[in-house]
Amino acid sequence: MSAETTPSDAFLELRDLRIHFPTDDGLVKSVDGLSFRLERGKTLGIVGESGSGKSVTSLGILGLHNRKNARVSGEIWLDGAELVSSTQEYVRGLRGKRMAMIFQDPLSAMHPYYTVGNQIIEAYRVHHRVSKAVARKHAIEMLGRVGIPNPAQRVDDYPHQFSGGMRQRAMIAMALCCDPELLIADEPTTALDVTVQAQILDLMRDLQRDFNAALIIITHDLGVVAELSDDILVMYGGKCVEYGTAENIFETPEHPYTWGLLGSMPRLDRESTERLLPIKGSPPSLINIPPGCAFHPRCSYADRTGGKGSAEVPELSEVRGGHKVRCHLPANERHAIWESEIKPVLEAQ
């Protein structure tokens, strides 16, 4: 943190966060200059394909990267305190208490040898000087709150005795047990089947309202965040390529990659393998990020900017009212493509 930075007045603010991993093959730039703000009670959806740096970002906010093999720079402000330059011990004290995380696969994220209750009790007692009995009561209450039937009995079950959906509920109980102000859910429903997914998302929405926490939902599926999010950040190759309100992203998306994501949203009423406008090619290697616009090898409109796409990294620039996009295409041309080529296809189905 340089001397002249001004403390953030947002609840959570990332400024130019970079997380790079030096490896034998080269420098992996998993997160490369990410900035956003988030207030209490608001939900941010972070969307991107596999490998775009979503998990690395969330682990970075919680300070969970090993400082030996990860280079973290930039600023992370949580309620007026900067975390990147703070001591590990300070950030550890915040983890679980003021900021908590829900992981993708609840079976592997829970210790197989300890009961579910034991693991919640542990999470509670790290930050509260209470007896085991008090913590246990709290754990049972939390399990009840996330919709586990018979919590007083199930508290003594081991994770493998729970169903997938119940395990994720238990994970949520564990994350919420210290009443965190920031909750990050990293693909909370990916490992679950479709009906359970909807239940878990409903639960998270209700709980967020109750707890008034700032919520970050990470997913590769725009459908998941559609109803839940206030704001959406689209990530590609470690960078934000589009940021705006959920309305912005769904009504007037600006970036060709976002169009691709919208076109590849699985629909409940369709065969899930069928994609409207699939994004061709595969996500970039984060060691050799394509020069210029990282998306240009896969972009259908790359030729419309006269070679600029492969030469110059586009700036993240504001379209209007906080809606930002990282693309060389002139705004009017983007709108024209959206209105005439993309929107009709998406609406036709």
Partner: protein, 339 residues
């Protein structure tokens, strides 16, 4: 849990029966298939000094002409109720549990085994404590400081430990520590003082064999522990533990080691069972009067009943260790207990 326990117990009993049958078959059936006559068997049994006629009588009286099943039944009965060996010139008493009677030393085998067991147990327990402390701590530290100088040095040494044969490391440590050089502070082997008599001397006499044996196992356990820790510390549940805000020591000890050391329980149980059955090489190297040395001496003297008795006892320890391991595993891994 109770059905699991009962199932395991029944399994162990069946296993013991099978093992005893196999042992019996090896000592009685195989020689006969290979052409040994009951008389020959009897003479091997009661000693070669007997005349051909004596041997014939002995064979008859000892029941070597009976069907094998009958002989096996008699053997098992001996374990439960004791036996008498009427070999012609006299009758030898063998009180229960009768694991055989040595006509060479004119003594039942079981009291001999009881005599030797404390030596082997002392050797095994002491070495196990040493190798667990050294092996596990080295493995954990190596894993946590992967690639450090400590890790490299420890793993090089461990590789040597698992590759060198025990009589080699045994001889080296005998040379280094015992034969007229500045380090010659330890006993030279061949002595054993019961712990009940003089604990200090007991330990003093055993320290070299302990170190020799522990080195071998510590090397193996350090490697296993390191591999296990590296694997567990990369598990998702470790990340969860950190995300809760636990201090790193709790993460490593309560979450990491718990996961990494559980499989080692199994390996330890089996190793220990085998060792109590007779640390043959270590006991020979240091001339310790334990079960392993007993077995070697019995083989050298062609004292069949002794060999059979010690084999059965070793087999019993292995089966017993297996049982303990299964039960322990159910205690430490809830997924086993409940399935």
């Amino acid at each position: 849990m109770v059905t699991y326990l009962i199932r395991r117990l029944i399994g162990a009993v069946i296993m013991l029966l099978i093992v005893s049958m196999a042992t019996f078959a090896i000592f009685f059936l195989v020689p006969q298939i290979a052409g040994a006559t009951p008389e020959g068997m009897a003479s091997r049994y009661v000693g070669r000094t007997a005349s051909a006629e004596d041997a014939k009588i002995a064979a008859d009286r000892l029941g070597f002409n009976d069907p094998l099943v009958v002989q096996y039944g008699r053997f098992i009965k001996g374990i439960v109720a004791g036996a008498e060996f009427d070999y012609g010139p006299g009758v030898e008493q063998c009180p229960p549990p009768c694991l055989g009677y040595s006509f060479i030393t004119r003594q039942p085998v079981w009291p001999d085994l009881l005599d030797r067991l404390p030596v082997t147990l002392s050797l095994a327990v002491g070495a196990a404590v040493l190798w667990l402390i050294i092996g596990l701590s080295t493995g954990v530290i190596s894993a946590l400081r992967r690639g450090s100088v400590f890790d490299r040095a420890a793993m090089t040494l461990a590789l040597a430990g698992v590759s060198l044969p025990i009589f080699f490391t045994g001889l080296i440590s005998l040379l280094v520590f015992s034969y007229g050089n500045p380090f010659a502070v330890f006993a030279q082997g061949g002595h054993y003082t019961p712990i009940t008599e003089n604990p200090g001397e007991w330990a003093y006499n055993l320290i070299l064999p302990w170190i020799t044996l522990a080195f071998l196992f510590a090397a193996q356990y350090a490697r296993l522990t390191r591999a296990g820790m590296l694997e567990t510390m990369g598990e998702d549940y470790i990340r969860t533990a950190r995300a809760k805000g636990l201090i790193e020591r709790t993460v490593v000890v309560k979450h990491g080691m718990r996961g990494a050391l559980t499989p080692i329980v199994t390996i330890f149980g089996l190793d220990f069972g085998l060792l109590v059955g007779g640390a043959v090489l270590t006991e020979s190297t240091y001339s310790l009067p334990g079960l392993g040395k007993y077995a070697i001496d019995a083989i050298t003297n062609n004292d069949l009943p002794k060999v059979m008795g010690v084999t059965l006892l070793s087999a019993f320890f292995v089966v017993f260790a297996n049982l303990i391991v299964d039960l322990l595993y159910a205690v430490v891994d809830p997924r086993v207990r409940l399935s």
